[in-house]
């Protein structure tokens, strides 16, 4: 009798442990299946949306050619999109993945080995970044930042890559290796932004003069009569000359350099956005309406530089074909009204 009970208990234990084993196996298989599915569905590479943005940007080349800048071709420069983890480099019809060169979210033209590359964050990252920061220098916030604006930004940065690759800007040319060395060195000197804040933003009379000049430039971009534009430019140049007497030489240089490099790039960016929309409403809101708006640091010179490019369009057509970045935009204006 006892043996029978023991035998039955033994059978029950076996049944229980068999059932447990089955449960454990099922749980293990489930876990493995979820893991495998998760790995397999993991997105490899750059998103379709970002690929489309690059393709659309490239398609604008014939229209950008009409702006007139000689040999300014997007295809000449690798365009890199950084998604926070990896760089995706678009170049010569291929997309290559690599470890990030610049581990930060920035739209820039950056030296990589022996050449300059365009580096921008992916649109999703930029969206997320802007929702955190409320926009960058008030330039890309406001009426929303989407695919068209991203395309315009890519062209802006490509313009910088072209400037740095081909020209000595105001007589200064830096090879990619030199720029890399300069960026890597512990240079504790004042940045261009700091110089301009001290010399312009923090000096009430200088700031007021710049605000007035910005309004004058905005009005001149809208002026139809060429004679009136030329007259306005002469007055503007006189006022700038007076103001700059109160500023240190390095601040004047920073102002001219920023207008020349960023102003022209901003002009290209604005035109690229204009090319993409029929109504021109976004172009009007983002670039023209804010043209007279003062902004701290370098930001205002994007606008004054663009305004000068638009004035040159009126009084010196074809200036884009001839520009070699050896002279400031003010010098080009002076030559055009002489």
């Amino acid at each position: 009798m006892e043996r029978k009970v023991e035998k039955k208990m033994g059978e029950n234990k076996m049944k229980i442990s068999g059932k447990r084993l089955l449960w454990k196996a099922a749980a293990l298989v489930t876990g493995a299946a979820i893991l495998a599915g998760w790995i397999m569905t993991g997105r490899a590479g750059i998103s379709k949306k970002d690929q489309k943005i690059y393709a659309s940007a490239q398609k604008l080349q014939p229209e950008v050619d009409r702006l007139g800048f000689q040999n300014f071709k997007m295809a000449d420069y690798p365009v890199t999109m950084y998604d926070g983890k990896k760089d995706y480099v678009f170049y010569q019809g291929e997309i290559k993945e690599r470890a990030p060169v610049l581990e930060t979210f920035a739209g820039t033209a950056y030296p990589v080995e022996d050449h300059f590359e365009v580096i921008v964050p992916t649109l999703d990252k930029l969206d997320s970044l802007m929702s955190l920061t409320g926009g960058v220098e008030d330039m890309i916030s406001g009426s929303g930042y989407g695919e068209k604006e991203q395309i315009a930004t890519i062209w802006h940065e490509t313009f910088h890559a072209w400037q740095m690759s081909h020209y000595a800007i105001l007589g200064e040319k830096m090879e990619p290796s030199e720029l890399t060395a300069a960026l890597e060195s512990d240079n504790t000197g004042e940045s261009e932004d700091e110089i301009l804040v001290k010399a312009v933003d923090q000096k009430d009379d200088v700031k007021k003069a710049v605000e007035q000049e910005m309004k004058t430039l905005k009005a001149l971009t809208a002026e139809v009569s060429i004679d009136e534009v030329k007259k306005g430019v002469l007055e503007y140049r006189k006022s700038v000359g007076e103001r700059r007497k109160q500023m240190p030489k390095e601040a004047v240089e920073a102002e001219e350099r920023c207008e020349l490099t960023e102003g022209t790039a901003y002009y290209v960016e604005a035109n690229v956005l204009k090319m993409q929309s029929k109504s021109g409403q976004k172009y009007q809101e983002r670039y023209l309406d804010s043209m007279g708006q003062f902004e701290g640091g370098r930001g205002k010179y994007y606008r004054t530089g663009m305004a000068k490019c638009m004035i040159l369009d009126k009084i010196d057509p074809g200036w884009e074909d001839r520009i070699d970045f050896s002279k400031s935009l003010d010098t080009l204006l002076d030559e055009a009204v002489r």
Binding site: G31, T104, K125, L132, G135
Partner: protein, 251 residues
Amino acid sequence: MGIMKNALRERIRRKDIYVVVVIGMIIVMMCMSGAATLSINGVSVTEFEMMMPLVMNVISVLGGGIAVALSLRTIPNEYERRTSHLVWIRGISQWKYHSQLALASMISSLGALFILYVGVLVFAVMRGEIQILLKGIPAFFLFSISTAAVSLFTSAVSLVLPGMAAGVLCTAFMLIGTMHPILETVSGIVSGVARGLVNGVLFAVPNLYGVEVQAANLLSGKTVQVHNILGGLLVLYVCAVMLYVFRRKEA
């Protein structure tokens, strides 16, 4: 199943769950009714399609908070009241006991989440978005994955850590998991030690937002990403494994 049923009955008897749910519903209703002003880039957000993902976010954080609150003390209370001894003498294993209590906490957390979620559906119907009702149930399954994971994680951690430490850890797990994409962006802005720290946190805490947002995608007719759903299920699975592995010494 008896253990789970008893634990659920106790949950229903306790008043704290109702208080939390009522407060949550008031917040949700305020967001949806326009009494609370919401704006992005200075533009008021009033469109239902724009508002829904934001309100879903609010609900997920509230739901996660409720899950932590409901799951944190369930198992430790049973041990403190020595109820566990009555269970051991019946030959019930620790895993079975813990899992049934954890399941009771999870079900009550999901119940609270469902009440908040129904608030969104009611508001959608009032705004004439009736088509959302059809997708409402599958969307809730997606939406509940992260809350279920938070509840299981809390139950597991409460087995090995003292109350306060477990509470802080689980709240951090829930908040960081829900804010994962924001922290990913922050990691790209900061540098040096801060960057290493943010990356470490992002590596340690799974992205709960990824699966939550799929529910909003389903409701608003956007593409649902299977990868993120599987990611959420994987987190849920790992939390269940933690509950199985972690044991109480005094048992």
